[in-house]
C-alpha cells in the first residue's frame, strides 16, 4: 500500500532523531534492539530507574515508598528533558525568553494542538492595521473638515481611501476562494463579526472613497462641465466625509470582536480589551497621519488624538499582558512579545515627540511615523500572540482543566462531567 521511498526515509529520520535526542535517552539506532534494549540501558541513571521499577513491581505493597523514591528520578529527567527542548527551540528561533517559563502540567495527545490555529496569514494582521488606519484617518478628516483645518481634512481623506482599498485587497486575497468574495453579501448575521464587518466596510468604503475624490475639486478647472463638478464636489465630500466618520468607530472596533469570537484562547479571553486596544491603535495611527501631513499650526488636534489613542492602546495592551494568567503568556513571549514591546516603545516615543516637538515639523513627522509603526507592530503582536496560543495544547487544556476542577471542588460533586458550567 504505502510507497516504500518516502515512508522509509521518514522512518529513518525519525529513528535518527530519536537517537540524537540526547545522552539522557536510550540510544535507539537499531530496530532489532527494540525488544532487547530493556537490558541495554545506556547510563547509570537508566539502570537505577530500571532497578527501582522492577522492585516496585515485585512488591506491590511497597508501591508507596518505591513511588516516592522514583519521584526524584523523574524530576531530574523532567529537567533534562526541558533543557533539551529549550535547546532545540533556541536553535530554531534564536529566542531565549522561553527559558524562564515553568512547564505547565497537563496531558495531551502526543503534544499536538487540540485547536486548529487560524488559517489567516499575515495579510489579516495587515488588515487590522489598514482598517484601523482608515477609521482613524476618517475621524481626523471629519474633525479637520468641521473645524476648518484643510490640511488634516485632505490628508485624512486620502489616507482613508488608500487604507480602505488596501484593506479590501488584503481581505479578498486571504480568502481560500477569492473569486467568491461576494458570497459575504448573501447574509447579514450579528453572530458573525465577519459578516457585520463586511457590512460596515460596505457602508464605510464608498463614503470614504467619495470623500477622497471630492478632494480633487481643488485641481479641477473653474469653467465648463468639470467646473460644475468642481463646485458640486465639496458639499458631496462633506456629507460623505461625515458618513465615513460616523461608521469609522465601528470599523475600528469590530475587528476586536472578530478576533475574540474564536476558540483561540488568548484572543477569546482578551475580549474585553481587544476593542479598546484596536480603538486606541486606530486613533493613534490617524493622529500619526495628521502629524505627518499637517503643519504644526494645524496639528494640535492630532497631538491630542495621539495622546488619547496611546492611552487606550497602552492600557489595553497592559491588561492583556497581565490579566489573563497563563493566556497572557503568548503576548509576552517570542515574536509577539517582541512586537508588542517594540510597539509600546514606539507609541510612547511618538506621543512624547508629538507633545514636546510641537513647533517642529520634522519632530512632528517623526512622531507620526513612530505612531504608525507602533500601530503596525501592536496589531501584528496581538495577531501572532493568538496564533501562538492556538498552536500549543497547553493554552487550551490547562485553563479548561482548571475550570473543570474548580467546578468539581466548588460544587462538591463527584467526578462526573454532568456539571453545569459556571456562566
Amino acid at each position: 500500500m504505502t510507497p516504500p521511498g518516502p515512508v522509509g526515509d521518514r522512518f529513518r529520520r525519525f529513528r535518527e532523531r530519536l537517537a540524537a535526542e540526547g545522552d539522557d535517552r536510550p540510544q535507539v539506532s537499531d530496530e532489532r534492539r527494540s525488544t532487547a534494549s530493556g537490558t541495554a540501558a545506556t547510563s547509570g541513571e537508566e539502570l537505577a530507574s530500571g532497578a527501582v521499577a522492577t522492585s516496585g513491581g515485585d512488591h506491590p505493597n511497597d508501591r508507596g515508598t518505591a513511588a516516592s523514591s522514583r519521584r526524584g528520578d523523574l524530576t531530574a529527567r523532567r529537567s533534562t528533558e526541558a533543557g533539551g527542548r529549550q535547546g532545540r527551540r533556541g536553535r530554531r528561533r534564536g529566542g531565549g525568553e522561553e527559558l524562564r517559563v515553568p512547564e505547565a502540567e497537563f496531558t495531551s495527545y502526543y503534544g499536538r494542538p487540540i485547536l486548529k490555529g487560524p488559517v489567516w496569514k499575515w495579510d489579516i494582521a495587515a488588515y487590522l492595521f489598514t482598517g484601523g488606519l482608515a477609521a482613524g484617518s476618517s475621524l481626523l478628516a471629519a474633525g479637520g473638515q468641521l473645524t476648518g483645518r484643510p490640511a488634516l481634512r485632505r490628508a485624512g481623506r486620502v489616507t482613508a481611501l488608500a487604507a480602505v482599498s488596501a484593506s479590501a485587497v488584503f481581505l479578498v486575497k486571504d480568502l481560500g476562494r477569492p473569486a467568491r468574495f461576494h458570497h459575504m453579501l448573501r447574509v447579514a448575521k450579528p453572530t458573525s463579526p465577519m459578516s457585520m464587518g463586511t457590512w460596515i466596510l460596505t457602508a464605510y468604503g464608498p463614503a470614504a472613497g467619495v470623500a477622497a475624490i471630492a478632494e480633487a475639486a481643488g485641481v479641477l478647472p473653474r469653467h465648463g462641465l468639470l467646473g460644475l463638478a468642481g463646485r458640486a464636489l465639496p458639499p458631496i465630500g462633506h456629507a460623505a466625509g461625515l458618513l465615513a466618520a460616523g461608521t469609522a468607530p465601528a470599523l475600528a472596533t469590530y475587528t476586536g470582536v472578530l478576533l475574540a469570537d474564536t476558540a483561540v484562547p488568548s484572543w477569546h479571553e482578551a475580549y474585553p480589551e481587544l476593542p479598546v486596544i484596536f480603538a486606541g491603535s486606530a486613533l493613534a495611527s490617524g493622529a500619526g497621519v495628521g502629524l505627518l501631513a499637517a503643519p504644526p499650526a494645524q496639528a494640535g488636534p492630532a497631538r491630542r488624538m495621539a495622546v488619547a489613542g496611546a492611552a487606550l492602546e497602552l492600557y489595553g495592551a497592559h491588561r492583556v499582558e497581565t490579566r489573563l494568567g497563563l493566556l497572557s503568556e503568548p503576548y509576552r513571549l517570542g515574536r509577539p512579545g517582541r512586537l508588542l514591546r517594540a510597539g509600546r516603545l514606539l507609541t510612547a516615543g511618538g506621543v512624547a515627540g508629538a507633545l514636546l516637538g510641537r513647533r517642529s515639523r520634522v519632530v512632528g513627522a517623526l512622531s507620526g511615523t513612530a505612531l504608525l509603526a507602533a500601530s503596525v507592530l501592536t496589531r501584528f503582536g496581538i495577531f501572532y500572540g493568538g496564533v501562538a496560543s492556538a498552536r500549543d495544547p497547553r493554552y487550551t487544556v490547562v485553563p479548561q482543566r482548571e475550570r473543570v476542577e474548580a467546578r468539581r471542588t466548588g460544587m462538591d460533586l463527584p467526578s462526573d462531567r454532568a456539571v453545569p458550567p459556571a456562566v
Binding site: M1, T2, P6, V7, R10, R17, L18, T35, A41, S49, P60, R63, A67, R70, L74, R77, R85, E103, E105, F106, T107, S108, Y109, Y110, G111, K116, G117, P118, L139, A142, D174, L175, G176, R180, R186, K189, T191, S192, P193, M194, P249, A252, G256, V257, A260, A263, Y271, V276, F278, G300, P301, R304, P393, V397, E405, S415, D416, R417, A418, P421
Partner: protein, 370 residues
C-alpha cells in the same frame, strides 16, 4: 418569532431553533470507545462514501495512528493511546504481573515532532515534545489515581521494551521474559465532528455556507463556502479545516445525503464492533448512560461520557463519546465552550470602545487652543 433565549448558550433543540417546523428527531453518534478495536474501517468508509481525497501516506511515528488529527481530508480519525497501566478489569491473572511503562517517553516526544502533508491547512501540525513525553505517564488528573501514585512511568519506560512508534509483533513480556513484562492498555477512539448544539463554526460563518439540517447536524455547503477560514479558528474542538488546493473548509456532514434517505452514516455502518452507534440522540443518551452503568458495575470506574450533557459549554454534542480517560488524553478539550456565549458582551465592549473613540476625537478637536 423571537429567537430562543438560549440561542447562543444553554440547552436547546437546534433544528426547531433554526426554523424547521415538524423537524425529525435530532440524530447523532454515540462512540463507545470501550469497544473500539482501532480497525479504522470508519475512516475508510467515510472516505469512500464522501469522496474525501487522500490525506497523505506517511508514518507519523505515533503508534498505529498515521492520520494524526481530524482534517479537511480526514473526517474520522482513530486515535491510539498506549498507557502503562492495567486494563479495566483487574482480574486475578493480572494481580502479580509486574507493571511497567510500555510507551517510551522518548519515542512519544519524537513522534510529536512529526507532521504529515495532508493537503490541508492547518492539517496535522507538529506537537510539543515535552508535552508528548508526559502522555506516557498519564496526567495529574487521573481518575484512578494510578498514575498519581506512580509518576515515573514516563521515565521508567526507557528501561522497558523500546516503543518505536510501532507496536512489537509479540505480546509484552514474551520477548523479554517475565521480569520485563509490562502491563498496559490501549485506548482507541474514533473522533469525528461533534455537531454541537451551539456550533461556533455555524454561528461565525459570514456566508451562510454552514447550515443546520433538519436532523440537527451541521453541514458545509461547498458551493457557497469562500474559504474565509473563520469557522476554523472558531471550532473549540479543532475539527473543521481548509483544503489547500481548493481553499474551502470541509468537515463531517454526518452523511447528510444518507440521512435524508433513511440510511445509516457510512462510518457507523462500517463499524464492526458497534463502537460507533447512530440514532436519535435521546435514545443514544439513554443507551450511553446504561453502558456507563454497566462498565462501572464491571469494575471500570474510569468510564465516563463526554459531550452528552445539554448543559455543557456547547449545549451538548450531537456526536458524543464514552471515554476511558480524561478527554485531553484523546486530544479532546476538557471543557469546551462555544465562543458565541460571550458575543453579546463582546459587542457591548466594542460599542463602548467605539464611543470612547468618537468622544476622544471630539475632545481632541474641541478641547484645545492650537
Amino acid at each position: 418569532m423571537l429567537p430562543d433565549p438560549n440561542s447562543l448558550y444553554g440547552p436547546l433543540d437546534p433544528a426547531p431553533d433554526a426554523g424547521y417546523e415538524n423537524a425529525p428527531p435530532r440524530m447523532g453518534f454515540f462512540t463507545d470507545t470501550s469497544v473500539c478495536i482501532g480497525c479504522k474501517a470508519c475512516e475508510v468508509a467515510c472516505k469512500e462514501w464522501n469522496g474525501v481525497p487522500e490525506s497523505g501516506l506517511d508514518l507519523l511515528g505515533m503508534s498505529y495512528d498515521n492520520t494524526g488529527a481530524l482534517t479537511a481530508n480526514s473526517w474520522r480519525h482513530v486515535a491510539f493511546i498506549e498507557q502503562p497501566r492495567p486494563a479495566g478489569h483487574r482480574t486475578p491473572p493480572f494481580a502479580g504481573t509486574p507493571t511497567d511503562g510500555s510507551v517510551s517517553a522518548a519515542s512519544a516526544a519524537a513522534a510529536a515532532g512529526t507532521s504529515e502533508r495532508t493537503g490541508t491547512d492547518p492539517g496535522v501540525p507538529t506537537g510539543t515534545p515535552s508535552a508528548a513525553a508526559r502522555m506516557a505517564g498519564g496526567g495529574p488528573a487521573d481518575v484512578l489515581g494510578a498514575i498519581a501514585a506512580d509518576p515515573t512511568a514516563a521515565g521508567r519506560g526507557d528501561a522497558g521494551p523500546q516503543f518505536l512508534g510501532m507496536p512489537g509483533a509479540q505480546p509484552p513480556g514474551r520477548g523479554t521474559g517475565v521480569e520485563e513484562r509490562t502491563d498496559f492498555r490501549w485506548l482507541m477512539m474514533s473522533d469525528v465532528c461533534k455537531h454541537c448544539t451551539h456550533a461556533a463554526c455555524l454561528d461565525v460563518c459570514p456566508t451562510g455556507s454552514l447550515f443546520r439540517t433538519e436532523f440537527g447536524t451541521v453541514v458545509v455547503q461547498e458551493d457557497i463556502c469562500n474559504g474565509c477560514g473563520y469557522c476554523i479558528s472558531a471550532c473549540p474542538y479543532g475539527v473543521i479545516d481548509q483544503r489547500k488546493d481548493d481553499g474551502r473548509a470541509w468537515k463531517c456532514t454526518l452523511c447528510y445525503d444518507r440521512l435524508g434517505a433513511g440510511m445509516t452514516p457510512a462510518c457507523a455502518q462500517a463499524c464492526p464492533t458497534e463502537s460507533i452507534q447512530y440514532g436519535p440522540l435521546d435514545e443514544l443518551r439513554e443507551r450511553a448512560a446504561a453502558r456507563v452503568a454497566t462498565l462501572h458495575e464491571r469494575g471500570v470506574p474510569e468510564a465516563r461520557l463526554y459531550g452528552h450533557d445539554p448543559n455543557d459549554g456547547v449545549g451538548g454534542d450531537g456526536a458524543f463519546f464514552l471515554l476511558l480517560d480524561e478527554p485531553e488524553v484523546y486530544g479532546l478539550p476538557p471543557d469546551p465552550v462555544v465562543t458565541t456565549r460571550d458575543l453579546p458582551k463582546m459587542w457591548k465592549r466594542a460599542g463602548l470602545a467605539a464611543l470612547a473613540m468618537a468622544a476622544a476625537t471630539v475632545a481632541a478637536f474641541v478641547g484645545g487652543s492650537s
